[in-house]
């Protein structure tokens, strides 16, 4: 029996929706094999990785807590990806947002001011946008590849953070840990319930998802960006400017990542530390793809990636498995998604044997 690949007459809507599900299923399958190879009972490891973390109230709170920055950043990045603007430095923009917000939180003259949180929000967003504004300027004005610039700036941001928390901003009472003093209470989101870590910061993400949907599906600007990404020549012919797509695409991702950084410092962590993000900025890229660059798809993708991060932490604690498994599974998930996407446009057909 032989097969041939042929182009579908039109892209398959079913496959478009099924591809992320198929990719997730295959990733879980490979994950189970990996657990087996590590000498663990795959069912038990599977349970520890994917079920146990969300079988308690606290687990659900943690799931949303981690999904929130992933979804927020992915919404911003997806606007850029739609316009073919490749911001892969959200991790750096998140770090700069966290630094700026923590700076306000730590050094604002009146630590009880009710203005503190809004100011930190603003500072985080602007810092993220400024950090993404550099590659936007360089691509729009100097024709410089934004992939490399956003990535290089991520390394720079990580070094600035490391310098601050090891040097000038280190908590003098902190036993030499690389972290700042705790933020004052007025600079922090108050949890819904002190038993869990989830805070109202999640509403920022809810607003972002709605805003993203309105922008991409209901606004002319969003339409222009999408056309520019899908058919650059048609966009140019229609008079849509490429440089505005570059600016909007990068600033959306940078602003979102900066806010996410602010919410991390002012939320679960309550301080700036060298481990401000467990790679949210990179994982959000995968979230955006899994979600098909669509606001509601991104919500599902964010929950999935959050579960991967959470599950990785759980099996590390309960089964002593290496934490690197999370990143391996993230990579595999993206591999499978990309391969599954092939079948949106193509299909396999059985060749009739020639007699």
């Amino acid at each position: 029996m032989r097969f041939t690949i042929e182009q579908r007459p039109e892209p398959s809507v079913t496959m478009r929706l099924a591809a992320p599900v198929i990719a997730t299923a295959l990733t879980l399958f490979v994950g189970s094999i990996l657990f087996l190879a590590l000498g663990h009972d795959p069912l038990r490891a599977f349970h520890a990785f994917f079920i146990q973390p969300i079988s308690t109230m606290n687990g659900l709170s943690e799931l949303l807590l981690k999904a929130s920055p992933l979804i927020l950043i992915a919404c911003g990045l997806a606007i850029g990806f739609r316009a073919n603007v490749w911001n892969i430095g959200a991790e750096g923009q998140l770090i700069m947002g966290a630094i700026a917000a923590s700076g306000i939180g730590l050094f604002w003259p009146n630590p009880d001011s009710v203005l503190l949180l809004p100011l930190m929000f603003l500072a985080g967003m602007l810092a993220g946008m400024a950090w993404a504004g550099i590659p936007a300027f360089l691509r729009a004005r100097m024709n410089t590849n934004e992939i490399l610039v956003t990535l290089m700036l991520t390394y720079v941001a990580a070094l600035v953070l490391s310098w601050l928390v090891h040097g000038p901003w280190r908590d003098p009472m902190g036993f030499n840990f690389p972290q700042t003093a705790l933020l004052p209470p007025a600079a922090m989101f108050e949890p819904f319930d002190y038993a869990y870590r989830l805070t109202p910061a999640i509403f920022i993400t809810v607003v972002a998802v709605i805003a993203m949907w309105l922008f991409t599906d209901r606004s002319f600007m969003g339409y222009k960006l999408t056309v520019g990404g899908a058919a650059p020549r048609a966009a140019r012919y229609a008079g849509f400017r490429e440089s505005s797509a570059i600016w909007v695409g990068l600033l959306a991702g940078g602003g979102a990542a900066g806010i996410a950084g602010m919410a991390e410092a002012a939320g679960p962590l309550g301080q700036l530390s060298s481990t401000i993000s467990p790679g949210y900025g990179f994982a959000a890229i995968i979230v955006a793809f899994i979600g098909r660059l669509n606001a509601f798809g991104i919500v599902l993708g964010g929950l999935l990636l959050s579960l991967l991060i959470l599950g990785g932490e759980t099996v590390q604690i309960t089964l002593g498995m290496p934490s690197a498994i999370t990143r391996i599974l993230q990579g595999i998930l993206l591999f499978f998604l990309l391969a599954a996407d092939f079948f949106i446009f193509y299909r396999l057909r059985r060749l009739k044997e020639a007699v």
Binding site: N143, L148, V149, L159, G331, L334, F342
Partner: protein
């Protein structure tokens, strides 16, 4: 004087992993394929070569294992980008993430274990010349291999028929296909070569340069290698110059720390990344220079029809 010698020799050594990784990518891009996953392939090469030395295998075998593991990693990218015709940016990014995870996973037991490093190979007679000897002729074999590869790749691309075919495929896969060239197969070979070279570059870091295994030890060298290919405007000799520039930056930054320059070490460490941006800007501003050798079909999927 001895400081100057140390700086020049150190520059050439520090440039070596970049030379391998960027030279491999140059060939990949010349065939019209953009593999962003160099960082991941370097890390995989680094960890497997380290493992091989750790397990007591001889050095040449370890480096070969580094090359093969890098090539194996690139095959994942190849299948996605060439057979499944996926977005090459996304496939390369996935490989970068995956390689980081796999290498951290495999190397989790290797933390701070010292291994014997790659021995130096002093060139007879030449290495005894005062000044020039210690500056240019007392390196480990991989440094010489890297320089040899620059010449070899330049010769292959511009002086052989196979190189011409590869460049044609990078310019116009349709034309190459029309005259009967197996576009996809040749692109696969280019991708595998790029993977092997990135693997050697990574292996150089873990068994010769450091020699240690540290998680994420490439620290962005895979991405700097990508920038170098742009800097070189796809020409091997310019690539070597670029690699030396970055090697020099690394060494000056280390020397600056040794001299107690009153700048925090973290900020000095940021210099190579900032320099990468500056260099990219300078090259990219000149569109004509950039487009001169730019492979026209770069990152565009190709499906042979008929």
């Amino acid at each position: 004087m001895s400081l100057f010698i140390a700086i020049v020799a150190g520059t050439i050594i520090a440039a070596t992993p970049l030379v391998f990784a960027a030279l491999g990518e140059l060939v990949v891009e010349k065939s019209g394929v953009l593999n962003l996953g160099i960082e991941g392939m370097m890390l995989i090469g680094a960890v497997f070569a380290f493992w091989a030395v750790f397990a007591g295998l001889p050095m040449p075998v370890a480096i070969l294992i580094g090359a093969l593991s890098g090539a194996a990693a690139s095959l994942i990218f190849g299948v996605l980008a060439l057979t499944f015709m996926t977005n090459q940016y996304a496939a390369g990014l996935a490989l970068a993430i995956f390689g980081g995870g796999v290498s951290a996973f495999i190397g989790r037991g290797f933390g701070s274990t010292p291994i014997p490093s790659l021995a130096r190979l002093d060139i007879p007679f030449l290495s005894d010349i005062p000044v020039l000897g210690p500056m240019f002729f007392r390196f480990d074999p991989l440094v010489y291999l890297g320089l040899f590869m620059v010449v070899a790749v330049g010769w292959f691309l511009y002086r052989t028929k196979a190189g011409l075919i590869l460049r044609t495929i990078g310019e116009s896969p349709q034309s190459a296909h029309a005259i009967g060239q197996p576009v996809i197969r040749i692109r696969y070979m280019a991708v595998l070569f790029g993977g092997a070279m990135a693997g050697i570059g990574g292996a150089y870091l873990s068994v010769a340069y450091t020699p240690l295994w540290v998680e994420n030890m490439t620290a962005g060298k895979g991405w700097i290698a990508l920038a170098l290919v742009v800097f070189s405007t796809w020409r091997p000799t310019r690539l070597l110059v670029g690699a030396w520039l970055f090697g020099g930056m690394t060494i000056l930054q280390l020397q600056g720390q040794a001299f107690g320059l009153r700048v925090p070490s973290e900020l000095l460490s940021a210099v190579p990344y900032l320099a990468t941006i500056v260099v990219l800007v300078i090259i990219s501003r000149n569109r004509q220079l950039l487009m001169l050798n730019f492979p026209a079909s770069l990152a565009k999927p190709f499906r042979p029809s008929g």
